[in-house]
């Protein structure tokens, strides 16, 4: 799928970043999971695997939860943040940060771990992390 190639190139992910996994496109969303999960249909699952990305007319937006687990090896368009910046972003705020990345969707990294997805337009990093519960 071209959207998957786009994500791999955008974030400098290795060619085998989805090795052993299968994809399923439903309308404008691509799901990712193990082949056993993606082929299981006996009980009409509400959900198979995890949302990998959403497809927009001019862009592809990866999901925070998928990139937390599948984006560990990303080499490009990552922005490292400290504790305070991480808390702001998880709680839905934007921060100003000068980063050597392209404008567009980026991976926010904290302590070497992918925290989630943000939208960068220099110098503003807008959080696209789902609001689950506040972090203190």
């Amino acid at each position: 799928m071209e959207q998957i190639d786009f994500l791999r190139l955008r974030f400098g992910l290795p060619a085998n970043w989805l090795e052993g996994l299968e994809l399923l496109k439903e309308q404008e969303t691509i799901f990712v999971g193990t082949s056993d999960v993606m082929r299981f249909d006996n009980l009409k699952p509400l959900r198979r695997g995890m949302r990998l990305c959403r497809i927009f007319p001019h862009s592809v937006k990866p999901t925070t939860f998928a990139m937390q687990i599948l984006g560990k090896k990303a080499m490009k368009n990552r922005i490292e943040v400290n504790d305070e910046q991480a808390k702001c972003l998880i709680n839905g705020s934007s921060i100003e940060i000068d980063a050597a990345v392209e404008n567009g969707f980026v991976l926010i990294v904290w302590q070497g771990l992918v925290l989630g997805v943000g939208l960068y337009k220099k110098p503003l990093l807008k959080s696209h992390i789902p609001k689950v519960r506040p972090v203190e």
Binding site: G33, T34, L43, K44, P45, M50, V132, V135
Partner: protein, 314 residues
């Protein structure tokens, strides 16, 4: 002790003083605050990294589970970045036991018949190293939403979420799964340490109602199991009607079902009951284990390990 006893319905005291050993210790434990325990999610991190990130919470390892830790100071643990990131799952220690006993392996097919909110589903996903298939089922839409939230947070790629009536689900997946977890909805007596809600709702009538549902779920779980497959039946309650009597009902329907003995080194459990209210349970039912709150400073639980023979009947 009189003050503690007054917190429980008289009928509760009458029922359980009859068979729970060290009954005063049991009651004291039931009103003591529950320690904050968490499990490290190996799909995302290592215990070493978590110990470094959560040093302020002074985590102490559980003797019987290298991925489980008690936070000496647990306040605010659920609001940390580590929790948001799914590096940990806050879960009572006793609630980690059913998945440990079931012991799912990579690339297997596993059914979690009443899965929400997903503590055991996500624990099993990590044990299976994000391979194979876990069908996480729950009938309640609200609870399924929470289940999906936890599956996402913990990074599980091997889970299909279904919303099917557990009682009828086996018709479509007969003899399909290598392992089945029936962590049944129950009267939740064992969770009274965490929330008084279970105590407020407690009635013998409710126990009987749950028992009927549980008998259906254990039967459905057994039918969904491949010949030679393994099933765990568990509840977080002490009522024999929801535990030994349910396993006995399964044995009556499937006499060749085998109750498998098990041990958890470092974790104290007690044998199941031999009889209750005049009903004598089959001897092998005593191989099931009761987890009492005073023994390991946990909630109360009941766990049965059941094997379907290779040439078992459906």
């Amino acid at each position: 002790m009189r003050k503690i006893k007054s917190l429980f319905p008289e009928e509760f005291i009458d029922r359980y003083a009859r068979f729970i050993p060290d009954f005063d210790s049991f009651l004291e434990a039931m009103v003591a605050p529950l320690p904050t325990v968490f499990r490290v999610n190996t799909l995302k991190t290592t215990p070493e990294k978590v110990l470094e990130l959560l040093a302020d919470f002074q985590p102490q390892p559980l003797a019987y589970y290298p991925l489980g830790f008690v936070a000496r100071n647990g306040q605010g643990l659920g609001k940390t970045i580590s929790h948001f990131l799914g590096l940990i799952y806050i879960q009572d220690a006793a609630s980690m036991i059913p998945a440990l006993v079931l012991d799912p392996k990579p690339r297997e097919r596993v059914l979690d018949i009443a899965a929400a909110p997903g503590s055991k589903t996500t624990q099993m996903a990590a044990m299976m190293k994000n391979t194979g298939l876990i069908v996480a089922n729950d009938i309640s839409l609200d609870r399924v939403r929470g289940l999906i939230g936890n599956i996402d947070r913990m990074g599980c790629l091997n889970v299909a979420v279904c919303r099917t009536n557990g009682l009828t689900l086996a018709q479509k997946v007969t003899d399909f799964f290598d392992r089945v977890l029936v962590d049944a909805p129950c009267s939740s007596e064992g969770t009274m340490r965490k929330t008084r809600e279970a105590l407020r709702r407690w009635t013998v009538k409710a126990i009987q109602r749950f028992s009927t549902v549980q008998r259906g779920l254990i039967r459905a779980g057994y039918q969904a199991l491949k010949p030679g497959g393994i099933m765990v039946y568990s509840t977080c309650t002490v009522a024999p009607e929801e535990n030994e009597a349910v396993v006995t009902a399964l044995l009556k329907r499937y006499p060749d079902a085998e109750i498998v003995p098990f041990e958890l080194p470092g974790f104290l459990t007690r044998p199941a009951l031999r009889e209750w209210n005049g009903e004598l349970f089959p001897e092998e039912v005593q191989r099931c284990r009761r987890i009492l709150p005073q023994d390991n400073d946990t909630e109360a639980f009941f766990v049965a390990l059941i094997r379907k023979p290779i040439n078992g009947t459906d």
